[in-house]
Symmetry: C2
């Protein structure tokens, strides 16, 4: 992973000339941004932990697994939000951990937490480092120092229960590695968020990830049937059955807890058989409203494709697939529908879905938009670094609500962004559907004006307020981190906040776990 | 509801002579039980609350809504487990509340909780009174008195959001009344547990109920998209979207909390359209193992019927439908499959499912076993009172686990019951299926020996231990109450228990809500 941006540096993409034109003509982008800092020039504070502390950490995991090098610290600094990238481009390494520790077992994690609690060392669990909500930037005030607890050694497929279709698997596995290991057994999670190439299973669980094929495979929190969690107070081992009436479902308290209650050291996940066939196709609807009504009908009355998403007019015009829709009677809105399953079933699903979509005014665009979407499904973040360099800020944000509230939510977010940024480019798609509602995923592009970080943070605050006031949730699948904490407090209300604090104080009395994240 | 037993007294059923024979010949039941106490003869302690307390309660809800009559107190005493019935038959009213209060609004509940907290009055939320796990028997030690907070006035369908397929509805509504109100809008919850005739929606939520059509409609906890909860610390209002990544899902902390964290005063529920057609049919499998494998295949690979259940050999022989299976080549195991949906779809579902079942060795038994099941789906509890009177103890219990662990769980429960009760009749069915596992629902009949309450409690303790040790959950849909509390503590582990205690202490610092229930 590129330390200062997204993804594999070999896949970095230059902006096509047409995009440069668009930035200039549409957004008024004039000058490129200041050049990004080099790795060497990033400013890091000296390691705050004493040699005795580092020695004690090494006593748990071994000396070669306590890293304090410039590069290791920077590689574990923050996540991959646009503000994170802007800070790194500016050479600001102020959120770097003092050390990176790499435990290899649950017991080592328990021991580390005990040590860090008694020495008041903050602990930031680190998986793929792909947070886009400030989930990895600990508030170090009051602590001796900060360690990143890197889970990459939790990388095994521990057990396959083919009868129950449940696997026991390490939370430090990156998604592609997990898919490769599962694929050897003919199994898949079917979980493909945009962060797929780098994110880890533990991160998916801790942040309630949702993948692009969630209509068919469910959200990641639907897949977690059990988990083991190391907390400073001891070990939680949850999940004896798919569902239970034995009290509250405490799995659902750990899912989404973003490392503030404990560190997930083992996951039991529901798996599916690898689909024998996959088909993705495009449909055009005259308007976002009409397309959304069609999504809703599929979610409520079926048939429900494996992948289902709908771009609004702007995203349809600018995003991939625009040529195809333009050629079919005006831009309208592009819907992608995907079907996965045993041989023959995707065709049947496509037929049933197509009949329903055509009845609702959809125009079939064939396989090409589906192929274009599949080809680019993980590539958008790569473009961001080039846009930042060109002097444009691009960021994504998302929310969810019930169907009847979506138009208000859609308008509120767009209005807030326009109000804060002048005339940004705001694109939106419905990324996930449910019987009772859906998520809205926005991509914003704006010309950098003044300090781009301050510029974006003002816009972000306006959007967060707008989402809360329009009744939406502050995040459908990115999480809370530090960036959504204030809005989350409003969403939860004071009594909800107290519930979180009570659990936090009981499990982590010294407050060492990811301080500053999630809990208001 | 019959104060001393189950259901509408008009529907009480005498035991057929054949059942008397069976009890005598199979179980050695000789003498009928001692006659049950009359309502008047049930022993109640004097009302422990002072006139000033009663006056204060009346100040919140009105004088006519604070009941202290002999009958009102007995009608709100305990739930409907067999031990509850045995105690009532013996004239033991020791768990009766001192008063019954009937608030009519969220604000009244908040005020009541404040009053009760400051006066140390324990509060037992009371919906349908159908708990079978001791969920309504507060531990009054340390309290001034106990009130039953009857939610029957929360009986309105408040709002219908037909676009989102979400309704806002009162938790005090009994299920049939809720279905009637929803039916006027062409909607249904599709939630039909055996307690359907009497249980309330709030009880379904608080105890994580699961209905007989859960394969098609989901569990009740799947239906709750939002809820409002009055706690002694204030109000929780949860659920802004179907799903969210904004932290832990606190809805799932309230669901299953059995009134110990707060009182649910409003529910937002996902609804479905009333099915135009319903079809139920029977299938025979040679063995429980073979039938379970077929259930698993349907749950994992589809098609999944709306209703799906499988009786073991003993239940197939003794229970309804036995004549039909016997006539088709030996008893084997009876499976009920049900299909509900728009006109035409049940037939198509039945065809697809039937093809799959036939491939897996199933023998079709036609519609008659389905009709018999449908006819008797809520009637089993009525028989219990007659059996108790005849000198036989009958009780049900249930658990769930992952598919690969079910055989061990099945054997462990049966072994424990046989060890504790000599030669009881133990029947079992798989009542709910998931991709990764299923529930096992047991019905036990035994001759009463000595004190039937002690006899059953010994057996129950043995079963609880067996379930925990075999890796199952202590309840799939009955809940924890007081009866499962010790086993639940083992299932959760000490850190899990601390999580519950932390939430409890924060939301209910005086511990007035349902003391003794759920939390170990």
């Amino acid at each position: 992973m590129l330390w200062s941006g997204w993804g594999d540096p070999a896949k970095a993409r230059d902006l096509p000339p047409k995009v440069h034109e668009l930035l200039r003509d549409l957004l008024g982008v004039r000058d490129p941004a200041a050049p990004a800092a080099s790795l060497e020039s990033v400013r890091l504070a000296p390691v705050a932990l004493s040699p005795a502390h580092l020695e004690a950490l090494a006593g748990v995991v071994g000396r070669e697994r306590v890293l304090t090098s410039h590069e290791a610290r920077i590689q574990h600094t923050r996540g991959k939000s646009t503000p994170d990238l802007l800070r790194m481009r500016a050479g600001d390494g102020s959120d770097a951990p003092d050390a990176v520790v790499l435990p290899g077992s649950h017991d080592e994690v328990v021991t580390l937490l005990g040590l860090c609690a008694s020495e008041r060392i903050a602990v930031v669990p680190f998986g793929g480092g792909t947070s886009v909500v400030g989930g990895l930037a600990a508030d170090r005030s009051g602590f001796t120092g900060v360690v990143a607890l890197d889970l990459s050694r939790f990388d095994r497929l521990v057990a396959v229960d083919a009868e129950s279709m449940v696997v026991t698997i390490g939370p430090g596995l990156r998604a592609p590695d997990a898919e490769r290991l599962l694929g050897e057994h003919g199994l898949t999670l079917g979980h493909f968020p945009q962060s797929y190439e780098f994110a880890t299973l533990g991160g998916f669980a801790a942040a309630r990830s949702s993948g692009q094929a969630s209509a068919g495979y469910g959200r990641f929190d639907d897949m977690v049937v059990g988990l083991t969690v190391a907390t400073p107070t001891g070990t939680l081992d949850l999940g004896r059955a798919p569902k239970s009436a034995a009290g509250p479902d405490l799995r659902q308290l750990v899912l989404g807890s973003e490392g503030v209650f404990g560190i997930i050291t083992s996951l039991r996940l529901r798996v599916r058989r690898v689909p024998e066939e996959r088909m993705y196709e495009g449909w055009r609807f005259a308007s976002f409203q009409e397309g959304t009504a069609a999504l809703r009908a599929l979610a409520q009355d079926g048939p429900l494709p494996t992948v289902l998403r709908l771009s609004d007019e702007t995203e349809t015009m600018i995003g991939p697939g625009r040529a195809e829709t333009a050629g079919s009677g005006g831009p309208g809105c592009l819907m992608i529908a995907g079907y996965e399953g045993p041989a023959g079933t995707p065709q049947a699903m496509a037929k049933d879905t197509g009949d329903a979509l055509a009845r609702m005014g959809g125009v079939p665009l064939g396989a090409e938009p589906g192929r274009a979407w599949e080809h680019g499904r993980f590539s958008a973040p790569y473009l961001r670094d080039s846009l930042l360099a060109a002097g444009a800020t691009v960021e994504t944000l998302e929310t969810a609500g019930f169907w009847s509230g979506l138009p208000r939510l859609y308008d509120a977010v767009r209005l807030a962004l326009h109000g804060a940024l002048g005339s940004p480019l705001v694109m939106c798609h419905v990324s996930h559907v449910y019987e009772t509602g859906a998520s809205l995923y926005f991509t914003v592009v704006t010309a950098q004006r003044g300090d781009p970080l301050e510029q974006w943070e003002r816009a972000k605050e306006a959007v967060n307020t707008a989402i809360v006031e329009a009744g939406g949730t502050i995040s459908h699948h990115h999480g809370v981190g530090r960036d959504h904490r204030a809005a989350y407090a409003r969403e939860l209300g004071p009594v909800g906040v107290e519930v979180l604090r009570a659990v936090k104080e009981r499990l982590d009395p010294q407050g060492i776990l990811n301080p500053g994240v999630l809990i208001p």
